[in-house]
């Protein structure tokens, strides 16, 4: 993960005019660069676009893609879209929760994995789909996933 240094954040801020409408786009850039939005960065963003901290905090907690806490090195997203649901994705989520000892939406204590669910990634012919680090795993089963995760943990 890249180091959080002030020069970096300035170059991100500079990409956007200082207007409230850019709050979300700016937060998205910060989220993807640093894997989460720190309180310091939230305040810098607020000042740049000109919104009170309450608004930025509301936005950060309303939209599920933002995280106010550091996320894991590897992001596991289990698709819960209808096609995947019919092919058993809820069971996959439960089995991953058991295996990683976290609930959905949480990150493992060693900050290695974040387990999330997502509502349909639009690859329904591959159901059940699990996205690991932006790569789509088609027709997953728990056994296949377990192998993959063990590989990533090394």
């Amino acid at each position: 993960m890249p180091k959080v240094t002030t020069p970096d954040i300035d170059s991100v801020l500079e990409k956007y005019p200082g207007q409230p409408q850019f709050l979300i786009s700016l937060m998205q850039d910060v989220q993807s660069l640093y894997n989460y939005i720190s309180p310091q960065h939230l305040d810098l963003i607020c000042t740049h676009v000109g919104v009170p901290r309450t608004r930025a905090w509301s936005v950060a907690t309303f939209y599920k893609s933002f995280s106010l806490e550091p996320r894991g090195e590897h992001e596991i997203k289990v698709c819960l879209g209808t096609a995947c649901h019919l092919k058993g994705s809820p069971r996959i989520v439960e089995s991953l929760e058991r295996e990683l000892h976290v609930c959905r939406g949480q990150t493992t204590g060693d900050l290695r994995f974040t387990l999330d669910t997502v509502n349909c990634v639009g690859a329904c012919a591959l159901a059940p789909v699990v996205v690991i680090d932006e790569e789509y795993q088609p027709k997953t089963t728990f056994r296949k996933l377990n192998k993959l995760l063990k590989g990533l943990a090394e």
Partner: protein, 631 residues
Amino acid sequence: MAQVALRTQEFRIGSPADLADYQQQILSERDPNRPVLIVCHGTGCLANGSPKVADALRQAIARAGLDAQVVPEIKITGCHGFCSRGPLVILQPSGLFYQLVKPGDAEEIVQTTLIEGNPVDRLLYVEPRTGEHIVHDHEIPFYKHQQRIVLKNIGKIDPTDIRDTIAVGGYQALAKALSTMSPDEVIDAVEQSGLRGRGGGGFPSGRKWRIAADNLRKNPGPMYIVGNGDEGDPGAFMDRTIMEGDPHAVLEGMILGAYAMGATQGFIYVRMEYPVAVRHLQIALEQARSLGLLGTNIMDSGFDFDIQINRGAGAFVCGEETALIASLEGRIGEPVPRPPYPAEKGLWDRPTIINNVETWANVPLIIDKGADWFAGIGVPHSTGTKIFSLVGKVNNIGLVEVPMGIPLSRIVDEIGGGVPGQDEFKAVQTGGPSGGMIPYALKDTPVDFDSLTKVGSMMGSGGMIVMDQRDCVVDVARYFLRFLEEESCGKCLPCRLGLKAMQEFLDRFSKGQGTPEDIVELQSLGQAIKDFSLCALGGTAPNPVLTTINYFRDEYEAHLAQQTCPAGVCKDLITYSIDPELCNGCGVCRRICPQGCISGEKKQLHTIDSNLCIRCGMCFDECPVDAVIVQ
């Protein structure tokens, strides 16, 4: 890509003549007889490894040392729609269609097909009912019975190269409108075509545009055009396919709309789960700008319009237009009551037109071929075609485009190839979490806006989910409610509290608890939520519940009166056991059971202790010989 940027900078399109010249130039540089090997890079094929297939083909071709004239071009395109058969490779111009292609097949394709000129039989599509091999894509029933007009370019063009789009006639509608039609005439054409919103609401697009244009006249100032690419319905990927595979169709439609209504700024709101769509749209915008098709003084017509892309941040509710507007303004995605409608007061209180990207993609066709042509497709109050994502328990999962009014059964049978292993479907869900389940008894329902509403469902964005006897309607209703509960903005009481309240009823039903009176009460609660909710998320949330009670009451009653789940799904009402005739004693189930409640010796029959079994279903999923039974 850098080469493309360089080429387009040399040319600026300032008139229809320029566009025609540019198209000619592009076509003259291409040999129409040169074979093109298309490797589908739609999301489904991508996840199934199509890039490796493309690489393998490139290497095999290089190794074969073919003559310069016959070396095929390898083209990467968007989704061909037949997702259950990917990775797909199609040879143009003949349309030779290969399915389930692996990198290891590359050598044989080069040798047998490119050099010897014969198809590789084992890669051809096999018609399941007759067993015959079908060679060309247009002969395959999945494609034959469709009417692909909005999707016509997808799978044939490289979406990251605008020259492909121009070669097949892209932006000719815009040229025609800017040079021969007044803005009002463009609105007229859209009105007369009968186009209705493809995002779910089905509101007549032309009428909406007319209202916005009138409002702008009364209240001069900025006006905004928005493309809604938020596509949140689970099981729907029509908009994704268009944005990824033919982004210029959306751009051209929006530029036409901006011209018609007097907008100078547009936005495309793409859900963040679609990064490839965002990328392809961004590339398309840059390339269109560099050719003078977007930005200031479009095609030297004096009309300015540009488009910005905003990404969603993980909120299904932002597909609702007022919530989308809030998100564009950098606020939380909470809908507001309407009226006033965005056409009167939308983004920053200015007249705003929001249309789904599929709706926008229809506009260039209407301008190019005329309103009458468009109105001649489909049925009178639902003209044109609709793209559906056909998923679930159906043989041919994928993206289909059909004329409005086609009977549901034709989509599922002729195009979908029927339900695997069964003769009839149990239900088809249209409209996603806002829609309803249509039972087999109503299989001949015409698929158009009003017919679907009449049977209690709705068109929605185009998700079409086929269910079979192993799907429990109570479970599916619970699923949709859980989905909406997570996505509710929480502003209004009927939705925030009501979704949970309906779930309480259904959770108890799934455990076999409840009385017939509870079913009646649930219907009353559903009606209250429909009536009182602030926006369509809450307002349509009861639909899956109400339609399933309407059409599958006996299944609800089986849960309550007989404590059974006929489909074998509801955990509290089922038991898992192992079929002694099928079990081969491999022990996979025993090792994988999280409760350790399966016992058995190697190569001996294994058994499940149902007292300890938590019905997680892992043994059922993992058994290599399908010996686990659910009752």
